[in-house]
């Protein structure tokens, strides 16, 4: 059908108007979005912190203000990023990096150290450390070498560790007293644990034991006690620059190299299967509750409300339980029991500098300031974690929160040289997801072997993918 000129004109103009308008609006929107991007000043220092906004504000108050007094030209911005667990936090930081909003420093735990290092995100600190070795001697002399080695990868140091946690055993002493049970010896065994759990279960009606599905402080503690691991344990060569410079003559540094090398998967080896099957057996014997997946907040709440008699925890539990209302004498801690060996898992954390940072010197100065006792005290105020500096482990520090046997926290490193970081290879993110799925699969099915055969397959595929 033929249309009139007037109709065509009207239609063309309307659409043209629309297209012009749409383009203009899209352009304005793009400009607006571009305007949202941060325009960094040359002296701005951006720090990503795994925690709440309140925690970030506390760090800024306690560490940032003294730092700014020494460096008045620096513009300090501390960004709180809340993650349900470390893998969630790392995913958010990586998304920031992808979005062109990379911070200069970010919290990194053992879980993500090799991920950040292997992908070239984190900056090796060797040159900085060696340049300022005189001012750092006091710090390294105060920090156990295992905590430093777990922050190394392929011979390079990426983080000056600020806090750590070993997988120890926590007790509800209220339930302990009611059961007429006594605090176990430091060389107690899995059988002692079972007898204690059984006593609680039959006399108190409480759940004797509970745990949480995550890499740190999970059934993995039993796996370590059974002298097994998900991946073959090894060490990267190198690292002598660190040990020769700061730990010469220290027996605890003997044999240490360039960081942990996580080799071929061993997730379905008999000792690993036995460890997970033991959790299933405890649940079937009604000595254990079905575990939750996640960071452990629910577990801590249940423990603090006297619903659980024993669980795995680290130094950070002292602050958590105190905040949840437990008094220092309502709970206590002991080393993890021996199975085939007495071996503990470890995780530590600190701040990594990003390679992309345009203000590396400022970032390095801030990193160093975070290792000062006052700064560390502020970072983990209220015992929300365990300081890496041995000199900060004092009775007065633990008097308000407990537990009575607080020396266990650092003592784990001294007494057990076989204390080993959690297996967190460069493909940690995938490992954490598969680990959670296969663990819950085993608990639901009541059989560890098929699930761990599946985990072995998962890990082999991750290793293969990482190699390509």
């Amino acid at each position: 059908m033929q249309t009139t000129r007037s109709e065509d004109h009207e239609r063309l103009i309307s659409r043209r108007c629309f297209l012009v308008g749409a383009s203009a609006a899209a352009g304005l929107a793009s400009l607006g979005l571009a305007g949202c991007a941060t325009d960094r000043s040359p002296n701005s220092l951006v720090i990503a912190v795994n925690g709440t906004q309140a925690a970030a504000a506390a760090i800024k108050q306690a560490v940032g203000i003294p730092f700014l007094a020494k460096h008045p030209k620096v513009q300090l911005s501390i960004m709180a990023i809340n993650g349900t667990d470390w893998d969630d936090y790392f995913a958010k930081v990586l998304t920031l990096i992808a979005g062109g909003l990379a911070p200069d420093l970010t919290t990194v735990a053992t879980e993500g150290l090799q991920l950040f290092a292997s992908k070239g995100i984190a900056q090796p600190l060797n040159d900085y450390v060696m340049r300022d070795k005189a001012s750092l001697r006091g710090y390294f002399a105060d920090v156990h070498p295992v905590l430093v080695e777990s922050m190394m990868y392929q011979g390079d140091l990426y983080v000056l560790p600020t806090d750590f946690n070993c997988g120890n055993m926590f007790f509800d002493t209220v339930l302990l007293d009611k059961a007429g049970a006594s605090y176990p010896a430091d060389n107690w065994t899995r059988d002692d644990f079972y007898n204690l759990a059984d006593k609680w279960a039959t006399t108190q009606g409480a759940v004797a034991w509970d745990w949480v599905v995550r890499l740190w402080g999970s059934w993995t503690s039993w796996m370590y006690a059974n002298n097994a691991n998900l991946l073959t344990e090894g060490r990267w060569p190198g690292g002598s620059w660190m040990w020769d410079t700061f730990y010469a003559g220290d027996p605890a540094a003997q044999g240490r190299k360039g960081g942990w090398h996580w080799g071929a998967p061993t997730a379905n080896e008999p000792a690993v299967v036995d460890a997970l099957q033991y959790m299933i057996d405890l649940k079937n014997a009604r000595l254990s509750a079905p575990p939750d997946v996640g960071g452990g907040g629910t577990l801590q709440g249940l423990f603090a409300s006297n619903h659980i008699a024993m669980t795995i925890g680290g130094g950070f539990w002292a602050g958590g339980l105190h905040a949840a209302g437990m008094t220092p004498h309502q709970y206590d801690v002991q080393y993890f029991p021996a199975w085939s060996v007495q071996k503990h898992l470890l995780g530590d954390a600190g701040y990594a500098m990003l390679r992309t940072s345009p203000v590396k010197e400022i970032a390095w100065e801030f990193m160093k300031s975070l290792t000062e006792p006052d700064a560390l005290g502020a970072l983990i105020a209220g015992n929300t974690s365990t300081p890496t500096r041995r000199s900060m482990m004092t009775a007065s520090r633990y008097a308000p929160t407990g537990p009575a046997h607080w020396p266990v926290f650092y003592g784990t490193l001294d007494k057990f040289p076989n204390t080993t970081p959690i297996p967190a290879p460069p493909y940690y993110q995938e490992l954490a997801t598969a680990f959670a799925a296969r663990t819950t699969q085993a608990m639901a099915a009541g059989s560890a072997k098929p699930a761990l055969d599946g985990l072995q397959g998962d890990l082999e595929s991750f290793v293969s993918a990482a190699a390509t």
Partner: protein, 311 residues
């Protein structure tokens, strides 16, 4: 308001009347009004859809160089049993929840329809409020209720002598619990739609049927259901589209577990993208999910020709 769309009626050639100018102004104003929506949909829906498809042709992990892989991500999906399982889980949950929402929502709407007007208002508000709460918040509360060891539900089951149920720790228990939680939370939507539809059923039809001797069930089956069938189609269509994108409840309640029993497609996409950093592969799954949603919606409308009655 008339948009400047092609008009088929004849007009005098070259005549530029006051009406034409008015229409042009109206048309411009109309385009201006819908411009924000078009821009919003374009920027935040169309562009991401196209972007996802483009991304699905690459290997992209944020921290490694982007690499063109063509259709390799789709090929990998064919061999990924866990992703395929996620589609099966999603379909099971979608069908279960859609049926439960229609059946329970309709039953409640019918039950409430017979109440007094103030009671109807109270029930409508009560059923609708959960819909206003975020899925994550509801799921956190529900996780305390359904916890096998410490949950409120098992506590009361124990009090009346019933065995403890592994609501979240067994395969079918977890699937069933997710269905219950989602159905409970979203029931308000189907309930409100059905309440409105029931109110619109002509009373003379049902009364005539009763005069002719039809019982309550027969009246409901042969008159009420056909009369509200467009609403049923609407709720089923919207429900299916929503449930195919189910994420919050399984993420918070079960993390997709135990094992991958409640691993929905969107949860799988999230894990592949934001935990495993396989953005290209996650995009390929997203594209397939988009096609599944399109096909499911198309099929529903095709099938609806046989049973939906438009008066």
């Amino acid at each position: 308001m008339a948009l400047a769309l092609p008009r088929r009626h004849a007009r005098t050639a070259g005549a530029k009347t006051g009406t034409d100018l008015h229409r042009r102004r109206e048309a411009r104003f109309a385009w201006l009004l819908i411009l924000p929506t078009i821009l919003g949909v374009g920027l935040f829906t169309a562009v991401p859809i196209v972007g996802s498809f483009v991304l699905s042709l690459f290997n992209y992990s944020i921290i490694s160089p982007t690499k063109w892989v063509g259709l390799a991500n789709y090929g990998a999906l064919l061999h990924d049993s866990s992703a395929q399982h996620a589609f099966v889980v999603t379909i099971i949950l979608t069908v279960g929840i859609a049926i439960a929402q229609v059946v329970v929502g309709l039953a409640l709407a019918v039950a409430v329809q017979r109440r007094t007007s103030w009671a109807r208002s109270v029930f409508r508000a009560a059923f609708f409020v959960p819909l206003l709460v975020s899925g994550a918040s509801v799921s956190i509360v529900m996780s305390y209720i359904f916890d096998s060891q410490f949950g409120v539900l098992n506590y009361y089951l124990g009090l009346i002598g019933l065995p403890q149920v592994s609501w979240l720790d067994s395969t079918w228990g977890a699937i069933f619990t997710v269905m219950i939680v989602v159905t409970w939370q979203q029931l308000g939507f189907t309930f409100i739609v059905f309440s409105a539809a029931l109110g619109a059923v002509p009373r003379e039809l049902t009364e005539a049927a009763r005069v002719d001797g039809a019982g309550g069930w027969r009246v409901f089956r042969t008159i009420t259901v056909p009369m509200i069938s467009p609403s049923i189609l609407f709720t089923v269509t919207v429900g299916v589209i929503n449930q195919l994108q189910l994420f919050d409840q399984p993420y918070v309640l079960t993390h997709g577990g135990p094992g991958n029993a409640t691993q929905t497609v969107v949860l799988d996409i999230y894990e592949q993208a934001f935990q495993n950093l396989r953005f290209g592969y996650a995009s390929a799954i997203s594209v397939i999910l988009f096609i599944v949603v399109l096909v499911a919606t198309f099929l529903q409308f095709r099938i609806s020709r046989r049973w939906v009655f438009y008066s």
